[in-house]
């Protein structure tokens, strides 16, 4: 019996050893092994390194000091890099190395005790590349109406979700506001809130990402409204607050769509119009805001007993909402909740979109389908706006439903559904006629050619059908009609007409599209076929000049006839003939030059009359302007020898300019160089100004103006000086002397101790001295104030900061061990940034300091981020694990002791038996 017990104990011990030993499968991703089995020579992997530990006692392993740990980690990394070869390293992370390895390298890494795990470096799918074309959004973007592509421009989608990380490169600039935080509070714009869950960021990317990846409404704006917490849950109250905010701000931000990828745990076979959110959704749709809601995923999270084919969850079940179900863009198979209530279907399986804090990730669910439809509604609404059409929410739903692709779910829910197709939806509403342009012959052409080729150009937003050419004579009789079948979006067709006789003709083209919309060019063109034509060669029409020019005319007559003479006529602006001269000509084509010495300025008309030997004549007219007077300039301000005191002085230069005929432009000349030029001069006499900033120095300035004939005039020269200010004393003070627009403020040390607040304009500075461990002077400059964010530079470090409203930052400008400066961006008043600076003396957590040193190249925005990074990098000691191992080892020792004691006891008994045996 005891033997069995001993064997049992040994087996247990071996078992424990085996259980705790690692097999290679525990260390290597199966996909890596599969790739090698499939004959792939090099596999991309990510190698995760173990945290360096050292033994301090029998039972307990403890962490090394942070610095030692970092050194050891770097040593381990360099060893691995040397083993694998630098050429195979893709990227070195803090705790991982991305590399390309062979089977030999894999063996090396598998034996390396510092390697924790080897992941397969999976290649990501093309972002949204499948689902966006699947709903035909990409074709829709190419539709151009009135110069605008249908991309959702000027439409705004409210994303009611967990927030949105608009710092993501694919979403940056898409937001009209910071995140509107409605979770457990009245809605308030909060620039420090992004997305603490990630769901909202993914949804926003599908609806409207526009960099790196393209969402459905690539041109739409987005507003992130936070109604769900970091766990992805929220209440009707939060949701209703978010909906109401979007309604209230509809006009301010052009909000036309609300996207809600959320729902509760329910099935509905009838509309749930008594749902707590129903009246809010109704209110939104009554305000022409479409509310798109995910239909639900069936048995999810806390849900049980949901049959996915019975119907959608709430609030998708609200009648005025648009419930959205999920379909796979790979095989059009249907997923999750659907049923008798109206539902549209969009891709929702493995949708790769934006991930909070950067990167991309693939998610599934009706959450991913809803933003596809939200984007589609934004595109649809922009189309309606561009085509001057109006549709109710129900009408839009009906159009999108009727133009989608059939989704047969008769074997599932018993219903047929529609997969959205936005291009088909807007095509069905095409009310735009093609745009026809007449190319040649040009309008009013006089030609002696009796065979003509007429060229028309036609474009359409969707699909052309045919083009018809019409030619009428001077009596209005149609003498030629030719039709040409065409297709595509653009077409240019030629129509040849021969045997025309002399006379006046009118022609046009009629374009038709596939929706039977048709249009002519704006007006008919005139063509004169004659025996004679006159051309005015130079100067070109509407010439302005300050010099005497020659006039060149040419004539052309039909074959068999001959030019006889050409007469030049010059008329003044009151239509008085002031000069004419006739020159004899010969041949079929000829030209002649006329001269006239202008003495009076003004606008003139000139023309030439050609006559042939058959007494045919032809006349052409053009304009000509003679101007030799320069513009007159009067300087107004600043006065000569003005002086300013500022480090950067903005000065407005005011002047009056007048001219008798025309004006072209005026320029500000500073120190004999053109500083600014104004080309938008409309009136012949007006007062204008230039504004520019100047650093300290002496300057001279004047204005020059030019008319269209090239006459230029310079004003008298004035001077001004800008002197650097003595630093302006500060505490309650405003700017310095005069009326400088840029000021420097100098708070005292006491001001800084209690906290110094100042409203600063762009470029304004605060000079201050910190008397911490070391005394040092610094300058804070407000570089820019844009989008509720300030960009601040602090020199002499220099440190560059970007702060949102309410954000603050602790800095260590004099010491590596202490924070000594606190800066906060309080808000914006009168277009000025209210900044508070304060000297502090706060010890930096050594770990934080290490991280700061380690991550000098990285920008850590807040102490919280640093703390998070410490946790991420160093982890926390697992005390439970320690206790477990301690007890296990104690247990083993007791067993071994027990076995030893029993063995000894067994031996003792045996000896006693032998003694008894031999003794007896």
């Amino acid at each position: 019996m005891k033997k069995y017990f001993v064997i049992f104990c040994l087996i247990s011990i071996f078992g424990l050893i085996i259980i705790n030993s690692e097999s290679y499968e525990d260390k290597i991703d199966k996909k890596v092994l599969d790739d090698f089995k499939n004959g792939i020579e090099k596999v991309n992997v990510i190698v995760k390194l173990k945290e360096p530990l050292e033994n301090k006692g029998f039972f307990v392993q403890s962490e090394k000091s942070d610095k030692k740990k970092l050194l050891e980690k770097n040593k381990i990394k360099s060893e691995i890099i040397n083993e694998i070869g630098e050429e195979n390293i893709n990227h070195v992370f803090n705790n991982e190395i991305s590399l390309s390895l062979s089977i030999h390298d894999l063996e090396l890494l598998e034996k390396n005790n510092n390697v924790d795990y080897i992941w397969f470096d999976k290649s990501l799918h093309a972002f949204l590349q499948g689902s966006v074309p699947y709903v035909n959004a990409t074709n829709t973007w190419n539709v151009q109406i009135s110069g605008f592509n249908v991309t959702g421009t000027n439409e705004t989608i409210c994303i009611l979700d967990t927030g949105v990380d608009f710092t993501h490169p694919a979403l940056n600039g898409k937001n009209l506001t910071c995140v509107i935080d409605c979770f457990e509070k009245a809605c308030v714009e909060n620039c420090s809130v992004l997305d603490d869950h990630g769901h909202g960021t993914h949804v926003a990317g599908i609806a409207g990402a526009s960099t790196y990846i393209n969402g459905v409404a690539v041109g739409a704006n987005l507003i992130g409204v936070k109604v769900l917490n970091y766990q992805g849950s929220g209440t009707s109250t939060d949701l209703n607050r978010g909906i109401d905010w979007c309604i209230a701000n509809k006009n301010a931000y052009n909000i036309s769509v609300i996207s809600m990828s959320l729902g509760d745990c329910s099935n509905h076979t009838t509309y749930c119009n008594s749902d707590p959110s129903a009246s809010h959704i109704d209110n939104a749709t009554n305000n022409n805001i479409s509310v798109i809601v995910a239909a639900g995923n069936g048995n999810s999270g806390g849900c049980t007993g949901i049959t996915v084919t019975i119907g959608p969850s709430a609030p998708a079940c609200v009648q005025s909402a648009v419930a959205v179900g999920a379909v796979s863009d790979a095989d059009s198979s249907i997923y999750y909740q659907r049923g008798p209530l109206f539902e549209l279907f969009a891709p929702g399986i493995n949708i790769n979109s934006t991930k909070a804090n950067g990167g991309f990730e693939s998610l599934s669910g009706t959450s991913m389908s809803a933003p596809h439809v939200s984007g589609i509604f934004a595109l649809f609404k922009q189309f309606l706006r561009l085509t001057n059409q109006t549709k109710t929410n129900n009408e839009i739903k009906a159009v999108i439903n009727n133009t989608g692709h059939l989704l047969d779910d008769t074997s599932g829910s018993g219903y047929n559904f529609s997969i959205v197709d936005i291009y088909s939806a807007i095509y069905s509403l095409d009310n735009l006629a093609p745009n026809v342009t007449l190319i040649s012959p040009s309008n009013s052409l006089i030609s002696i050619n009796f065979n003509q080729t007429f060229v028309c150009n036609v474009t359409d937003e969707f699909l052309l059908s045919n083009l018809i050419f019409y030619l009428w004579n001077s009596a209005g009789n149609l003498i030629n009609q030719t039709s040409s079948n065409i297709s595509g979006l653009v077409n240019q067709s030629s129509f040849n007409v021969t045997g025309l006789s002399s006379g006046i003709y009118y022609w046009n083209c009629l374009g038709n599209d596939s929706k039977s919309n048709s249009a002519y060019a704006n007006s008919n063109y005139t063509l004169t076929i004659g025996n004679l034509s006159t051309t005015l060669n130079s100067p070109i029409n509407n010439t302005y000049t300050n010099q005497n020019l020659t006039f060149n005319c040419s004539g052309q007559t039909m074959q068999g006839a001959e030019l006889t003479n050409l007469t030049f006529y010059l008329w003044n602006s009151t239509s008085d003939l002031i000069y004419n001269l006739t020159s004899n000509l010969s041949g079929e084509i000829n030209s002649t030059i006329f001269s006239y010495n202008f003495t009076d300025e003004g606008n003139y008309f000139w023309n030439c009359l050609t006559i042939n030997n058959q007494s045919n004549s032809d006349l052409a007219n053009e304009n000509y302007t003679y101007d030799i007077t320069s513009p007159n300039i009067t300087l107004i301000s600043p006065e000569n020898s003005a002086s300013y005191t500022s480090s950067s002085q903005s000065i407005t230069f005011s002047y009056n300019v007048s001219e008798n005929i025309n004006l072209s432009n005026c320029s500000l000349i500073v120190n004999d160089a053109i500083s600014l030029t104004n080309i938008s001069i409309v009136n012949l006499s007006e007062t204008q100004s230039f504004t520019n900033s100047f650093i300290p120095g002496s300057y001279n300035w004047n204005i020059n103006c030019t008319d269209k004939a090239g006459n230029i005039n310079y004003s008298s020269q004035r001077s001004f000086t800008v002197t650097a200010p003595a630093v302006v004393a500060s505490s309650g003070g405003g700017g310095g002397g005069g009326s400088p627009s840029v000021s420097i403020y100098a708070p005292t040390s006491n001001d800084l101790l209690v906290g110094y607040s100042k409203e600063l304009k762009e470029k304004e500075q605060v000079k201050f001295t910190i008397t911490g461990l070391e005394k040092s002077s610094h300058t804070l400059t407000l570089n820019s104030l844009k989008n509720n964010k300030v960009n601040i530079t602090i020199k002499s470090e220099p440190i560059n900061l970007l702060l949102g409203i309410g954000e603050s930052k602790k800095l260590n400008v004099t010491s590596n061990e202490y924070y000594d400066l606190y800066i906060k961006f309080e808000g914006i008043k009168n277009n000025k940034a209210s900044i508070t600076i304060k000297t502090i003396f706060e010890e930096i957590n050594p770990k934080i300091y290490t991280i700061i040193e380690e991550n000098k190249s990285e920008t850590l925005d807040s102490e919280k981020e640093i703390e998070e990074k410490i946790e991420e990098d160093f982890g926390t000691f697992d005390s439970n694990k320690k206790v477990f191992y301690f007890l296990l080892i104690l247990f083993i020792i007791i067993f071994i002791l027990f076995i030893i004691l029993n063995l000894r006891h067994y031996q003792y008994n045996q000896e006693m038996k032998l003694l008894k045996k031999f003794g007896s």
Binding site: T162, T235, S261, P276, G301
Partner: protein, 95 residues
């Protein structure tokens, strides 16, 4: 080893055995969470990854969740709650 020591050791081990037996009984009594699958529910309203007895059911009325299928949760039929040996567990892999 003396016989007395052996007896003490056996008594200690015996006491430990008795103690373990009663503790185990007590633990078992307190850990009987369910008798059938219907006694078990998800432990949270959104994206639950474990199950609890019905008596510990979270209040999910008027709670909305994101409608994505989160991995390693029971979302989208990835798993369901069941009762095995008196404990509420997740039956993974049901589709």
């Amino acid at each position: 080893m003396k016989k007395r020591d052996l007896i003490i050791l056996w008594i200690i081990l015996g006491l430990l055995g008795v103690l373990f037996y009663f503790l185990n009984e007590k633990i078992n009594d307190t850990l009987v969470e369910c008798y059938s699958d219907s006694d078990c529910v998800a432990n949270s309203c959104c994206h639950a990854s474990s199950c609890v007895s019905k008596s510990l059911k979270p209040n999910c009325s008027d709670i909305f969740c994101t409608m994505n299928c989160q991995s390693d949760t029971m979302d989208c039929g990835q798993g369901s709650c069941g009762c095995v040996k008196g404990k509420c567990i997740v039956n993974w892999g049901e589709k």
